[in-house]
């Protein structure tokens, strides 16, 4: 009767639970099935589609994709000098942006982590995070106005006989360095905070010059954090297309992909593999430098 029904119900639930008993692989498998499906099918799957598309071509007039295996896109990428130039320009800018951000971010992060009091520290963290609240497109357009011929930069520079960079690679470097700075400050800040103050005191007690302490104690310990930050600044610059479109007249990998997407998607896919390869190589180097030790 009523009690019977409860017994039956329980046993169904138990039987279901029993399925998992003693089967740790099934337990973990069913727990991870949904996120793994997301990662493998949607995330890696779309990368695979990209890879496959790179081997297709388009019909010259209609622009329709011809789904036949061909190495035409890769031959063009390698043989036409302009694409090498674009790739090189992009990688060079990404490296410069990374270097600039590292140089600016380190003192800020150091002050935040080791010098500032609790209140100032909180205030600085908010100040670093604040720009991330505004849309990145808005920030680029604001820079466009700043760098404009009649913009605020020229207004400030003209009286002392200087002129802003106008539209060009220099502007891209400036804008990107601004955009990705928080992504460099935060990892370095986190890395520096992890260095115990006692190590610095010990170095001082042993009579080390502050510069020696910095060079022999702080820098080696914080270096993996700098590399971690550089992954962000480098790969974000490598893939961006809006900043080059809006503040320069030069082509970058991102803008070339954007331009090709409208009439030659397979070529765009092939070009998109270039930053992927570069970033994989970069990650390999970063791993060697210990960027992932604390992840």
């Amino acid at each position: 009767m009523a009690t019977d029904a409860v017994v039956v119900k329980r046993s169904a639930g138990r039987r279901f639970a029993g399925l998992f008993h003693g089967r740790p692989r099934l337990q973990i498998g069913s727990l991870l099935a949904a996120p793994m499906a997301w990662l493998v099918i949607l995330y890696l799957g779309s990368l695979v589609v990209l890879l496959v598309t790179a081997f297709w071509t388009v019909d010259p007039l209609s622009g329709s994709v011809i789904k036949e295996l061909s190495f035409e896109n890769f031959e063009e990428l390698v043989n036409v000098p302009v694409y090498r130039e674009i790739a090189w320009r992009t990688i060079r800018t990404a490296a410069l942006v990374t270097l600039t951000d590292a140089i600016i971010a380190f003192p800020i992060a150091f002050y935040m982590a080791k010098v500032a009091g609790r209140k100032t520290k909180a205030l600085l963290v908010v100040a670093v995070l604040m720009p991330l609240w505004a849309s990145y497109l808005v920030k680029i357009i604001a820079w466009r106005a700043i760098l404009a011929e009649h913009g605020v930069l020229n207004w400030a520079l003209n009286p002392i006989g200087l002129h802003g960079p106008g539209q060009g690679v220099t502007s891209v470097w400036l804008v990107m360095s601004y955009l990705w700075l928080p992504y460099m400050i935060l990892p370095i800040f986190a890395g520096l905070e992890r260095i115990p103050d006692s190590l610095i005191s010990a170095s001082e007690d042993l009579g080390a010059h502050p510069f020696t302490t910095f060079r022999r104690v702080i820098l080696p310990l914080a270096f993996p954090a700098v590399v971690a930050g550089s992954i962000f600044t480098f790969s974000l610059t490598l893939g961006d297309y809006l900043a080059p479109k809006l503040v320069s007249n030069e082509q970058f990998i991102g803008t070339s992909i954007f331009d090709s997407i409208t009439n030659n998607q397979p070529f765009a896919a092939a070009f998109a593999l270039v930053p992927i390869v570069v970033v994989i190589a970069y990650l390999g180097v970063a791993r060697k430098l210990g960027a992932f030790e604390h992840v």
């Binding site: 493998v40 007039l61 295996l69 466009r144 009439n263």
Partner: protein
């Protein structure tokens, strides 16, 4: 106790990725067979509409900036009950790509998009008997190679105009009368960093047009039909221009902003930007009416066509739109708003400026001989059936190289 598997997680991950790649490659191979067998005819697609039915209540358009504006869209919506959703296309390439999504009913395509849309089977022939206003469209806009394929009309002419040379009248004095200000390195150097050029392969035709006038030995007759020697010369000219270009603009808004903030001082533009800047009292000028709005070499230009998608979900609304936009009143409004010559003869009686049509040479076929409408460059030159012309792919590639 069961024994643990030996494989490391990294190795398992590689197996998964390798498996996926193999699977996708198989999929890619299968896809190839299916799609290539599906396309047999040379171009176009679908059947023309035989009878106009009731409006479907909605209409999805792709248009150039300034072609679909509330002033004339509202009356259309009230009249037909078709709610208009408009997507602005910045370039012809973008329009072709948007049309390929199959989500739009129609597009205001320029001559450098029409042939490609037709070849990609994206547009359907138009039954002009269902578009009563078509009868009074200017004769020299009908049955043109850019709107008629294999003898069938594939669209309704919208209007035409020339690409303008625009300059900031404070910075550029006196007003230029020739394209040399942007294309002759000696003259252009004066405006280094402040010249602006449309970011589209069609800009190469501007170089070709310039050479047509200044290097007659090249024998260029049509700036869109260039053999290798002529093409290389035009590309070389555009490469020489590159160091002086401040911005290759790809959207009307971008250029308006560039001229307003002083970064751009002289360059190619459309009437839309010119009038928008004028409306903001910016000090811009363009070739005056006394020069026929054209620099002395003539100009590249466009003759636009409303085309209907083969995938149109609202074909009746699209036919109503095509008829409406060339109705005398609406065509006059759009022509005057944009600053182009109307396609509709009777529109000239409805313009607010009574001299509008004569100022824009709407009724003078001879004038339009100096305006070279955008075309899709094809390998086959129209004269003598030669096939040594550079095709659109060559143009696209060259444009990337020009920008460096």
């Amino acid at each position: 106790m069961r024994r643990r598997e030996k494989g490391s997680p990294a190795r398992t991950a590689w197996f998964v990725v390798a498996g996926l790649v193999a699977f996708m490659l198989v999929l890619a191979g299968c896809g190839g067979g299916g799609s290539s067998s599906g396309t047999s005819a040379s171009g176009g697609g679908g059947e023309e509409l035989q009878k106009l039915g009731k409006g479907e209540g909605e209409l999805n358009l792709i248009s150039w900036a300034g072609y679909v504006e509330p002033e004339w869209v509202k009356p259309f919506e009230q009249e037909t009950g078709c709610k208009v959703n408009d997507k602005i296309g910045g370039t012809s390439d973008e329009m072709v790509n948007l049309m390929k999504t199959g989500q739009y009913d129609g597009v205001s395509a320029s001559g450098n998009a029409t042939a490609r849309l037709w070849a990609a089977h994206e547009v359907a022939p138009v039954n002009t008997s269902l578009v009563p206003n078509y009868k009074t469209v200017f004769a020299d806009l009908k049955d043109q190679p850019y709107n008629t394929f294999e003898g069938k009309p594939y669209g309704i002419p919208h209007g035409r105009g020339a690409n303008l040379l625009m300059w900031n009248s404070n910075d550029v004095k006196p007003g230029p009368e020739s394209w040399e200000i942007t294309l002759d390195p000696k003259v252009a150097a004066k405006y280094k960093g402040h010249i602006t050029q449309y970011d589209d392969p069609m800009s190469i035709a501007e170089g070709a047009l310039y050479l047509m006038n200044h290097e007659p030995s090249l024998g260029i007759e049509n700036p869109y039909e260039l053999n290798e020697e002529q093409f290389d010369a035009a590309v070389e000219l555009m490469k020489e221009q590159k160091p002086f270009v401040g911005e290759y603009w790809s959207s009307a808004e971008q250029q308006i902003e560039g001229f307003a903030n002083g970064s751009n001082q002289v360059g190619t533009t459309w009437q839309y930007q010119y009038f928008a800047l004028k409306g903001e009292n910016e000090p811009v000028a363009a070739s005056p009416a006394s020069q026929g709005f054209l620099p002395k070499e003539g100009a590249t230009g466009w003759s636009d066509t409303w085309m209907i998608s083969v995938h149109a979900k609202h074909p009746n609304c699209m036919y109503m739109w095509m008829n409406y936009i060339i109705s005398p009143q609406a065509n006059a409004e759009v022509a005057e708003f944009f600053g182009e010559a109307p396609a509709q003869e009777k529109a000239c009686e409805h313009t607010e400026n009574p001299n509008f049509c004569s100022e824009y040479h709407a009724e003078e076929p001879a004038f339009w001989k100096r305006v070279y409408y955008w075309e899709t460059p094809l390998a086959e030159c129209s004269e003598g059936g030669e096939t040594d012309c550079m095709d659109y792919n060559d143009w696209v590639r060259a444009w990337t190289e020009i920008k460096g």
